[in-house]
Amino acid sequence: MTIAVIMLTLAGLIFFFATTVGILRFPDFFSRMHAAGKGDTLSSLLMLLPLALYNFHEFDLANMLVALKVLLIAVFIFMASPTATHAILDAGYEAGIKPWTKKPEEESP
């Protein structure tokens, strides 16, 4: 049980790190939103699961309820975070941000 908790938490942390690197390094607003929206949701789900499993050192009703509540947060983030990503992208498109394109290479003499 402890091994599973440690492995899942480290996996969630690695995905969070990838999300942050994506937010900092991508050249354009739309590509940054790819990293933020998708990476954020996946990392939260991967990190809430071991925190729900961590309570199960004794099986009784109170611990089951607490684990269910943590999974409820995960379900809520699963529904709300992609919607928030869609809302921000819509706002960016309405405000007129142009996507980043690669500059055409100059012809070599």
Partner: protein, 340 residues
Amino acid sequence: MIWQLDFCVLTLIVICAFATIMVKDLLSAAIIFGAYSFLMCLLWTEMGAVDVAFTEASVGAGVSTVLFFAAVYQTTRRVGVRKSGRMLSKAFALVAALLTGLVLVIAEADFPGFGDIFTPASLHVSPYYITQTLHDTNVPNMVTSVLADYRGFDTMFETAVIFTAGLAVIAILRRFKKEDRCDLPEPYVISAGYPDTIIRFVARQLVPFIQLFALYVVAHGHHSPGGGFQGGVILGASFILLAISYDFKVVLGIMSERWNVLLGNIGVLIYAGIGFLCLLLGANFLDYSMLSKILPATDKIMARSHGMLGIEIGVAIAVMAIVISIYLNIVSHGKYDKGL
């Protein structure tokens, strides 16, 4: 108290505070202030003050940030720059801030240490609440029992202050005439914002559960962090979500202006009414143990618990109505025709 997390979160908060002041765009300053509120709630949680953290999350990071956006929507996004006298005002601000900081640091030298157990508050007041709460009122959450029972007067006037704030916003902003001096010529927007199916669907599915969660927070305030204020603010935030994702008029159809003010009144009256009921039954004002005479099959201790639940419901109703009313007034600039 986890000192590693404490140190890291405090550093982040100081960076956020500096960034809020230095950013020249008012909307961005409001957004970074929202992040500051989020991190402040984390700091309260890490110190163990969960009720304060709940209130900071719901009021500071939730509704207050949305009200900032509504205010920036109605006014400008630029920070005004004075033409002359800039250095003088900056020097004056620096001297004032330094003097206040100096006075605070000198006063802080007389304080007891952080977490010292020999202060008068820790020797006489806190052990009484810690040992006697469950015995007196049968409510495990000490913060709720101190807020609603031992110091019930203060909470009643806090609710009255919230109601007065709602009235003040109505008094300043509400305009009834069709044509007004404050109206700008009608702007020509590029696109008026189309109704978005995804946001409408998700908001429609989520709002009942948000309201159910808010009612749970109000009712479960005796055993877990929560209570009347936090539940009322989350109820108001659910209506704000409806107003944002659907049209402004939808919320106005559900909670009209008359109902908002009426519910604000009813909330404060429930609180004062329970206190007055205790007075009629022969005890002091807000002494809930006398409610055991009219409630069936309760003794004096359970009557205090039920009295606390009654006033929490009153507070939640008042706070919900006033939050909706303040949002509706600010975002439509008092005209109640269209909003964010």
